[in-house]
Symmetry: C2
Subunit: 203 residues, 2 copies
DNA sequence: GTCATCATGTAAGCCGTTACATGATTGC
DNA sequence: GCAATCATGTAACGGCTTACATGATGAC
């Protein structure tokens, strides 16, 4: 989940951890991108060790390891820091970019056929522009099947609606509505995909 | 979460673990009650040790500990097994009921004011019949505030809609719709609560 | 000069899952 | 008799959170 989120965002943007999280939090879809720093930073380090992302324009690192009295590196850092100001390419923070293996891994994550939970699916949609039209449709169709299955499951179990109190009934109705809306939405996505000029955005 | 689910279901029904899970899985609301056996059974034991639930009609337990050759207990178990068939009060399974402290704990879990994630909120609604009207409205109002906050947050961040690709735009729209529908639903619940004959279902 | 925000990290722990082990009962 | 389902558990592990520690920078 967090790998998908990180790789998806880094594909196209070079970002440092803090900014990455800010963007993640802004992603739509039921808090899909919500992660804590406590899991983001270790994840970034892990992905870097795995070669899926790499630090770019790394700039000043480990100035505190410098035993020499002359704080050359420190001065440099301060100078750089005075001039960066948020534009992608800042200094003194660790800016990451995606690597080729990282891009491949992103595609694999987006393509894996196992059923997604809601948050993962939202993330996949958020980054599905990196897929080709066929894989995109496959993604939507798989989800469609999942939602349909849930709906029919629900209908199987709801015969005893009369036995439920009003709150459970209301909850059930809400659930059915939400699932139905999702189906409609997915159908729209699929239809659009099939009729659209099919602009490839392959890897 | 699992405590809420277990206590909520046991309030009113006496059930064994397997049946408990089956009912949990049937609860509406975005897979709200989905739990694995691997977490359910330990949870039941924990709740029992804490005195929040207790085994009732324990019936045949530990027949394998009986060293005597005469398999009296075994025979009895077999006899019972032939006749129980799913009706609450089965044998050879561990049937649990809620205790007074358990009921109190359930009320506390239903009343705690911290914001709920979607699944927890669904569970609270599923069992909110055990609350009084005032606490119920409070529950709904809190959720309403949460959803409203999410909506305005979203609106703050979506000025650059034009920058997003069609999939992110679609996802954002879907999200807005879902949140809006939820708001309407909550408003309906609140209105119904306020205008209803206010049937108390206190602890 | 002090406070909020930016920025990166570590450690402990929670809460749940999957996989495994075991055995009784039911239906064919 | 054999398979599917019912039924209860344990062990290992995974992923994420909270809380903590640290420090630079910017605004006033």
């Amino acid at each position: 989940m967090i790998d998908l989120a990180v790789l998806g965002l880094l594909k196209g943007n070079e970002l440092h951890g803090y900014e990455l999280r800010k963007r993640l939090m802004e992603l739509p879809g039921a808090r899909a991108g919500a992660v804590s720093f406590g899991s983001l930073y270790p994840a970034l380090n892990r992905l870097e060790r795995a070669g899926l992302v790499k630090a770019v324009e790394a700039g000043v690192e480990a100035p505190r390891r410098a035993p020499s009295s002359g704080s050359l590196a420190g001065e440099l850092a301060a100078f750089r820091a005075r001039h960066n100001l948020s534009a992608p390419g800042g200094r003194s923070r660790k800016v990451y970019g995606i690597t080729e293996p990282g891009s491949q891994q992103l595609l694999e994550l987006l393509t894996e056929p196992q059923p997604d939970d809601d948050r993962t699916f939202a993330l996949k949609v958020a980054f599905c522009r990196h897929l080709g039209p066929a894989e995109r449709v496959a993604l939507f169709e798989r989800r469609r099947a999942d939602v349909t299955a849930r709906l029919t499951e629900r209908r199987r179990h709801q015969g005893r609606d009369r036995l439920l109190d009003r709150y459970l009934r209301s909850l059930t109705e809400r659930d059915n509505l939400a699932l139905t809306h999702d189906l409609t939405w997915l159908d729209g996505l699929i239809a659009a995909e099939r009729s659209a000029p099919s602009q490839e955005t392959a890897s």
